[in-house]
Amino acid sequence: MKKFLPWILVAIFGAWIVSDMRPPKPKDNFNLAEFGRLPVLLNGRIQPFDSVARNALLSMSGKSTVRLENGKRMSATEWLLEAMSKADVADTRKIFRAQHPDLESLLGTEQARLEYYSFNDITNHLEEIEHKAQALAESERGKEDAVKLRTPFQKDLMHLYNSLILDHRIKNSLQPENADDFSQELEVFKEKIPAGLLALQASEANEKFDQTDLQTIAAFFRRYQTISRYAYPLAVPPKAGEPRDAWSNVGSSLMESMRSNEIHPAITKLAAVTTAYAENKPADFNRAIADYRTWMESNHLAPELKKGRQEFFFNQLQPFYKAMVIYVAALLLGCAFWLNLSEWVRRSAFALLGVAFVIHTFGLLFRMYLEGRPPVTNLYSSAVFVGWGSVVLGTILEKIYKNGIGIVASGVVGFITLNIAHHLAMSGDTMEMLRAVLDTNIWLATHVVVITTGYASMFLAGLLAVIYVVRGFFTKTLTPEIAKSLSRMVYGIICFATLFSFVGTILGGIWADQSWGRFWGWDPKENGALLIVLWCAIVLHARWGGLVKERGLMAMALFGNIVTSWSWFGVNMLGIGLHSYGFMDAAATWLTIFVVSQLLLIGLAILPPRFWASFKNQESPGAPSSPKGKEPQPASA
């Protein structure tokens, strides 16, 4: 039985992954998935409605599904469709998050502690929120740093305000939010255009015209002008012959119709979709979507449809979330192995690590394919890649040493980095388009990948040091054999990190030289990378010179965590320089916590062996510095 445990675990988690690869079932006969796959243009890129829905919901509520009153969950796509076709129903969904007590008291709900609000919960306070938010924006005008200096209340207020705006935009994306039967409305509109145009021309030429015709068309004009201002995704695809990126929104396309006297076919077809959904007619709904797809295919939009389908699949699969969960499982089993030391536990843990790694890799590759880019394009993807790189190294270590350390280290880094990525994803689209300066696949594939691998190896070395200190200080499980192998691992990984950090930093310099004619400019991110290289050099020289031994090396590897996290995240928080593209906010707190925790561990690491649970009653396993008076000779490791 024990022999089969690894296989059983692989089968269980494998089944979990595969189960999400199948297309989701229609809900109440509505083929929602098919709607979720339809492509639109947003953030400068083609993406399915499903991505629009998930990213919007994540940024508003921090969740990718909507919790219903009855405790069930509603998918992001379904919520988006509802908001775009039955705005009044969507207004009852609790999608707005407000946590600050002062904000709750503003909403009059401090007793209830709701945290999540529906639009209807907030309606009575809209003006007040708007007034306060605009006053804040006004006071911040012209001050660049103001956004960073907001109080928690102000942050929460602005978040709520922006969420309300986003919600308003979404509700006015495919039709005006108060439309009853949009298909019917379009029919009327189409009929009225010619007469309205005649009246308009006549009035401009100071001739006699029908007042009613003019007023009707003017009313339509105002109505569509409003939604043209608010519409969120660009849902109307280009017609044959237009540039591929010439998408427009429903409102502006309808305004264009007043000139051209014809309504874009996509609008009529999308209106059929929303109307059928609003009127609860599943058969019509499914037919309308199929009809729209057919139209797109015959209008050379097959690549866009394909992109929508693939990204929908990727969203559905959630490979990084699944990898994160399985990493935790592997990590727990790895720790269990340290307690009972049975080989089959280690094997099971290793097998799980393998499953997590496979799905992590699949996600990474699929994302590269979707974007048509190397793996790292922004802070989010750097977190995914740092985790991946560390797991590769950790797996190799486990293959060599077979003592569970590689598994636990991989599990921890995999979990933490994917968790970081998950939180970074809340700030919006993770596959955003690249600014002109970053738009170069060669340098993204070399400099960025190499430097990120450097980060990954630094963190892995640091984590091994954490394992050393925690096991050595608090438990008796750090045998000299394990201590020595850890020390060798840390040393080896730091050598690796030196190579990658140095080469990566230099490649960055060469990129700068190729693009801007200057190799080095002391930009904060450049300096950050240089700090890692310098730190690696210090560690290696200190060790060669005998200035540090085992515990000293561990303390230095721990400090490497601080240096690397500074270079990776801290620099971006300064908000200056060419590289400050990945600014985020809440991360500052976490970074501080992380740095403090590492400093504490360093403090433990340099305590004399007699305080260590594993080293008590033993001879010293290596003083932190060499005896004085003798010039240390460089010794090769």
């Binding site: 953030n43 030391l341 140095f502 080469v503 230099i506 004619g517 240096v563 300064l574 320089g577 460089p634």
Partner: protein, 425 residues
């Protein structure tokens, strides 16, 4: 004694201490950029022997950190000394040796770059042609003899000479220039407005427009706008007295001044100031240093596009025409983000645009005679690191192979612990 000095300079401890200082310098130098801006930090931290602390108002200063020059120099000495001491050309050391040779080259190359690199820019509108670029930070007093219709004769006096004050004489100039007053930073002022030190000239625009001394600034988005009051005189006596300032010549300050005072002064603000002497017409201006080139560049088209429906730029590009009759170059070039033009030892890259005028491009021009060194240096270091790393890996692999196979359950802890603790390192 010499032995001890040599031992000090070749010690590994010194390496570690220097590297640690470098770490600190780079870290503090990054933080300082938030307050002081990139250029100031470059000059104060990295292109300096020491980082000084001068308290406001005091006329003394104390060093608080070793600067880039000192650390770079010491590291170089340390490296060379260490290699002299321990240099043995063995197979085992070849990696380490290559790494350090590369580092020496890198340090030297960066030193030459810091000293000899010149950064300037060209800011021009579609249709305009330039045969010079302008220094981004350094100014010159230009005296231009425009009497010859074929070409102008330019005499250039660096701003640093003006800052010293006193008289400026040059054999090539038939007159002397006396610096009567010089402000490192200034603000335009009327006769009534502006407190404190002000300059007023008896000729040129300075008769009507005065400049008041302003506090020196040092951030990236704000720069000093110097002004000086100059008296020009020959052996026979005074020729005249003029005010010069980059307020009158350098974008965007000249544009701002024009906006504010244009209605009062009209074209007098943008017209060059000039005077007659000995049958020649001279112009004078305090302006960004100009680097003239034996060729011309014309801006044909500037594009600045965003991704549809976003504010994310996806393309900046300047289409220029390069014309160099001497070398027979006559072609159109597209300069884009990440695709600069390299010509005659200089690199022209797309650096910016004007928010108010979409026909204006800003090209950065860099001349760096040591541009090749980082490439060589880095290849050496990377090669060395690779050799070293692979050697470790091979040794490590052998050691693992020779080790007895791991036992199913790890051996009893207590007994082995002591034995291995003795052997640890």
């Amino acid at each position: 004694m010499i032995d001890r000095v040599f031992r000090f300079f070749s010690s590994l401890r010194l390496t570690v201490v220097l590297l640690a200082c470098a770490l600190l310098l780079v870290f503090v130098g990054t933080l300082a950029q938030v307050k002081f801006g990139l250029y100031e930090v470059q000059a104060e931290f990295f292109r300096n022997v020491f980082v000084w602390w001068h308290p406001k108002g005091a006329n003394w200063k104390i060093p608080i950190l070793p600067g880039g020059w000192l650390l770079g120099g010491m590291l170089l000495l340390n490296l060379v000394a260490a290699h002299l001491k321990r240099f043995q050309f063995t197979k085992k050391k070849i990696g380490i040796f290559t790494i350090h040779a590369g580092l020496i080259l890198l340090l030297l190359g960066q030193f030459f770059t810091e000293v000899f690199q010149v950064e300037s820019n060209i800011r021009f509108e579609e249709g305009q042609t330039r045969n010079y670029s302008e220094d981004s930070r350094h100014n010159e007093l230009a005296i231009i003899d425009v009497s010859n219709p074929d070409h102008d004769q330019v005499y250039s006096i660096p701003e640093t000479l003006l800052a010293k004050g006193g008289e400026i004489r040059d054999a090539k100039l038939p007159f002397t220039i006396r610096v009567k007053n010089y402000f490192q930073n200034s603000e335009p002022a009327g006769p009534m407005s502006g407190a404190g030190n002000k300059i007023k000239a008896s000729d040129g625009i300075g008769k009507r427009l005065q400049f008041a001394e302003a506090p020196v600034v040092a951030t990236m988005d704000n720069e000093n706008k110097p002004a000086a009051l100059l008296e020009i005189a020959s052996d026979k006596g005074a020729i005249g007295e003029w005010t010069v300032s980059t307020w009158l010549t350098k974008y965007p300050w000249s544009a701002i001044l024009g906006e504010q005072m244009g209605s009062m002064f009209g074209t007098a603000l943008s017209e060059p100031q000039s005077f007659q002497y000995d049958g020649h017409t001279y112009r004078l201006a305090l302006r960004p240093i100009r680097y003239y080139k034996p060729y011309t560049i014309t801006l044909l088209d500037f594009r600045h596009d965003n991704y549809r429906g976003t504010d994310i730029p996806n393309n900046f590009s300047s289409k220029v025409h390069l014309s160099d009759p001497k070398r027979g170059e006559d072609r159109d070039v597209l300069i884009r983000m990440n695709e600069p033009l390299r010509y005659a030892g200089e690199t022209f890259f797309q650096a910016g645009f004007d928010e108010n005028n979409d026909k204006v491009t800003i090209l950065q021009v860099v001349r760096n005679p040591a541009a090749i060194t980082p490439y060589l240096a880095c290849s050496l270091v990377a090669l060395g690191l690779l050799i070293q790393f692979l050697m470790h890996l091979v040794t490590f692999g052998r050691r693992q192979k020779n080790k007895p196979a791991p036992q199913k359950n790890s051996p009893k802890r207590k007994t082995v612990a002591v034995a291995a603790a003795k052997g640890a390192l």
